[in-house]
Symmetry: D3
């Protein structure tokens, strides 16, 4: 089976790190593709960027010409998942929800360590809407911005562990890494913390394998019925943006990068 992992921001190094994590946990026979939007913010730290990213991700999905069996959305706390569920006929797994669900399989309550404090209410709201907040003991920010995570990996792990300790004191028995950019750190954090640590990308990939493995997909009966036929001005955006020379350069770069590693 082929799982597409979508980094919600345009930072290619983050796509690479997310792809690496996804590939590392994929079962034999699972192919991982990873990509990112052709436009939008280089990182997502708030609602404004989250909403831009949601549209950019949907645009990317609408214009991809490669088949896949499941989508993993790799933005923690980001909106957009429901839109992808309407657009696609394959299952869609979001790392926020997947992390929480896997953590709930491991301990009575779970907690989340994220980047900036401003994202805490946003993450809690996504979990509330998903019906997964009840057993969340705490969500805490490390104070590190998304792109700072990659700057000093040692310090990043230290700060995450420190914040995770607070989350455990608040009652969490399992801890989720609350940013796609933290993918790959779960083992180091867990070793230092002595508590199971869940990376959302890894969890979502395994859950995608599980859903596809059972031949199941999104219900089209109500909330996630396909969009009705109608006029959508300038859609898909990237096709229209493509008439802009600068954009085409960007697109080329993205395509090239992704093409090298995973065939998109």
């Amino acid at each position: 089976m082929r799982i597409l992992v979508m980094n919600p921001n345009t930072t290619a190094s983050m796509t690479a790190s997310i792809r690496a994590t996804a590939t590392a946990v994929a079962a034999p026979g699972t192919e991982i593709l990873a990509t990112e939007p052709l436009w939008g913010p280089e990182s997502i730290e708030g609602h404004f960027e989250g909403y831009l990213s949601a549209a950019a991700v949907l645009d990317r999905l609408a214009t991809l010409d490669v088949p896949f069996d499941a989508l993993v959305m790799a933005g923690f706390g980001e909106p957009g998942r429901e839109g992808a569920q309407e657009l696609l006929d394959v299952p869609v797994l979001d790392i926020t929800e997947s992390a929480a669900q896997m953590a709930m399989m491991l301990g009575h309550a779970y907690g989340i360590v994220t980047t900036l404090d401003r994202s805490v209410p946003q993450i809690r709201d996504r979990l509330l809407t998903a019906g997964l907040l009840q057993r969340c003991a705490a969500v805490r920010g490390t104070g590190l911005g998304v792109l700072e995570l990659e700057e000093d990996p040692l310090r990043t792990v230290e700060v995450i562990v420190e914040t995770a300790r607070e989350v455990v004191r608040a009652g969490a028995e399992a801890v989720c890494l609350g940013c796609g950019g933290m993918a790959g750190l779960q083992e180091k954090v867990s070793a230092a913390l002595g508590v199971p640590v869940v990376d959302g990308v890894a969890a979502a990939v395994k859950f995608a394998e599980a859903v596809v493995g059972l031949g199941l997909t999104t219900s089209t009966g109500r909330s996630f019925a396909p969009p009705r036929p109608k006029v959508i001005g300038s859609w898909p955006l990237s096709s229209h943006l493509a008439r802009d020379a600068a954009f085409s350069q960007d697109t080329a770069r993205h395509t090239e990068f992704s093409g090298q590693t995973s065939g998109i």
Copy 2:
């Protein structure tokens, strides 16, 4: 004071009807501007279109060069409000929440009559996130699509009244019209129903006057802090799309229309 009312879809006749409702209820001294996005869906009936619209609305807001004192977002159940709160330093009122809040001032429980059944869970989720679901007795769809509302106004009122009766039987003591396109029907529905009926556009305009009247605005302390400086590819989208001839034609038409009636 000047209140900008944003129709989330590109249908100009709906902008006109929303503007008329907003103008009718505005206090002396309140100027109403109304506009719509320059791209995106002609109506919103689901998550996919809602997310596109959220980005299109933010794009429109980022490129408007007219000052205003408050924003009213006229999409019922649509996402995006939090993004506008980060982007702007004036208060933002969403008609979903405003309708519910005003209804809670009038009766112990409230209900909502919306367009399609598929929007019911989406509306409930917005209310849940807003902390306003507890006193919601029921959300029900009429089965009419957004653009069908304008087709046969008499039939539209009949169908809304019928559905509102179910909502009242479920415990609602006040009923909200659950679509920006129903603006203007509240009196007819209320007369037939015998229960207060709240139009979200009207409610949001009055609440915008209330918040501005007290000199208050969105808290920038945490959730709605302004976006951090960063690279956002192809942003604002409409400036890049403008290099596409077809888009420019559309834009011209929008600008012209709005210019005639309200000065944008």
Copy 3:
């Protein structure tokens, strides 16, 4: 339009301060009347006094012979609002709920700073019943009694700011002043705190203007149907109490005071 603001206690200086706040925020064309009960406690700090006050307020409303378009009940956390909604055919706004509702328009979560710690559970219960508790981050007491608020205004502001800081640390992005007697301090507190501060009296006046402006009023369909005809012994109480000389003296004093400033 004419809004009646009801101080729930018998302290005339507090009525004056509440009237001043209400008048300061009223729109052009809004007339503010303010009054207080003819009997009952001089301040309300607990349930016993709250219940006495509720009856005294209803008694005052039943015997007033001046017309008005909306009632603002200026007791924070006090019971009685639902009774006034049954008795009157004009909208009734309670400052507890209005403060919370306006705060929810400004930030993701809100908090409340009140007088004594003993009132905290009482306030939380009123918000719970009103369906507004979900986004309340914290309610905290300053330790100052209601009548102490007026003693040393500088110290009062300091103590409120200090307590408000705790409330913000608990997650509040907007802070409500949790006592009618704090009306007028919102600007000083907000300036020191850096977070929007809502005074319930001000909020309720603006919401009263909003509801009346839309021609809406309380639903009489169920919870707030008018009282059924029946025998009520010694009602209205003040008419019967009036045969007591001491009471008549009091009444005279009240009437005179209110008459001077606002026409009741």
Copy 4:
């Protein structure tokens, strides 16, 4: 031990029926006193009357000169309990909460059959505040007013049973009689229904015996601390009202009636 049972309305025949139920279930050694307020509504069917009654009950409690070991408040869904807890140093049991608590000892979920539909939201709110709503499957009105309950006892039982059947279909495994005036009907209703039926007066008397039996009483640490010393105008009301000849006649009648049966 001596338990005072307070009928919240002024209808002496209802006091008698409540006293009879209380006496019938009292343990050997428990003396039941029953009384009613000296002023206020003859029955309580809504918030307005409920708030008047709360003050009238507190007035009655403040002026009684007979000692007792616990108070049972016999109004279903009525406010006031917290005020009595502050005023008295003996335990206070409310029949709304006692009925629900006993029903929760008997079945997984419970339901309530009350008088008028308008009281349903009021009762639910009291249970919500008391923290007892979670396991409430349904509250339903019979359509009978409080004073109609006594008119045709056979018909009353029939209508209660009919409504109780709906409540059971909604998931209730035990049913509470939701009006003090239904005291005494529990056996007939239970026999017809085949499900345990709880009368709140009976439940509260037994719980009062339980609390007193353990030497426990209301916590004075926070919510229910005694009222602070302060001026309360015209308090106690009945002492001031007594200067009114008509009132004194009423009082005499009440006193006489109660004196005959139970010593107050």
Copy 5:
């Protein structure tokens, strides 16, 4: 009436202490029997032991040949109550729920002091399922194991009081002793704490008297209908275990001990 109090573990000294507490609070005319399972853990500190104990208690109940009018289950936070409700036709009171219910009669919010921290989530889950968690301010562990409670009674009281102080700071107005093995300490803890303290065994005995006193018992309509006839291998376990010589010795010892003090 005769109340059977079931210690869920096999430690006879704990049965004795529970019996003493129950006997001390029983009304005249109430006979207390106390016993423990014939097999299973000597104390319960977690889910594994809790589930073993639940089956051992049901086995004990299924093989007792002494009639009783109500069962009190004296394990705090332990599972099993619903099973006993199906098996027996007399009311079943669990000390976890009884403690919480009585505490809710005494203060606005309550808290629990238990043994080990690992039991905290287990206790919260039992209260959640019972619909009694809403007004629980805090559950805290003392760090003392169940059998350590009896080792140094003075130190035990000190540690409980210390932990109870934290619980009160978290908002509790009444405190429950969260272990059957703490029965008998409520007065000492309450004296030191200045807040009402509820022992679950005492509360459950009084509530059993209340329910039996009203002639009520468990609803058999749905959740707690009697078990359907079917094959249950090796049931009752103790009858089969009895063919093991060691087990019979144990049984003999239990019977002898209980026989001396209370007639089982």
Copy 6:
């Protein structure tokens, strides 16, 4: 990896059917073992049998001498999962929770079709405790007992589809089969219903693969710490029961059966 699937009742044909379902969905490289308790009820329809089964399952787990990498507990709505989590150091997946979690990946709300109506509250309670009830639209019984499910497979599917339609009308977008004995029917039910149908055994096997695939296991930090060393009388039960000749015959039969098909 090797997954042990535990049928909670002693009916070997049900073990076989559960094993077949588990084997059918297992990934290449996953070995399925299936077994059942050595004593206890032949089917579980209520709390009493559920608690017996929980102990019998723990007994079976304590005495198995075959290694495995994860446990799937195949009783829908049954207690015991937390005990197994304490006892084992491999992950434990319960089919109730796994079914709900997978359904939440497929639709906005889910529903459950179970056997008898008496199990409905029990299932809801398990989901409530697991933090998964919020998005449950309905749980409904078919009226078929557990062992009746196998009697007339065609009729069974019909009745399940009929009940599932009610659940969909109540808002479910995905439906869970609420009994381990329904394993294998998901495709037929889904085909007739037009909505995704989740079998809990299948879901739990895939989730077990997911958790094991990530190298994760139950947190031992708090709720699910291993049992403390202590005396447990007659434990493990099956070793003591084994001295009973009849029991040994049973055991032999179980072992033989399981041995033939899956190596236990």
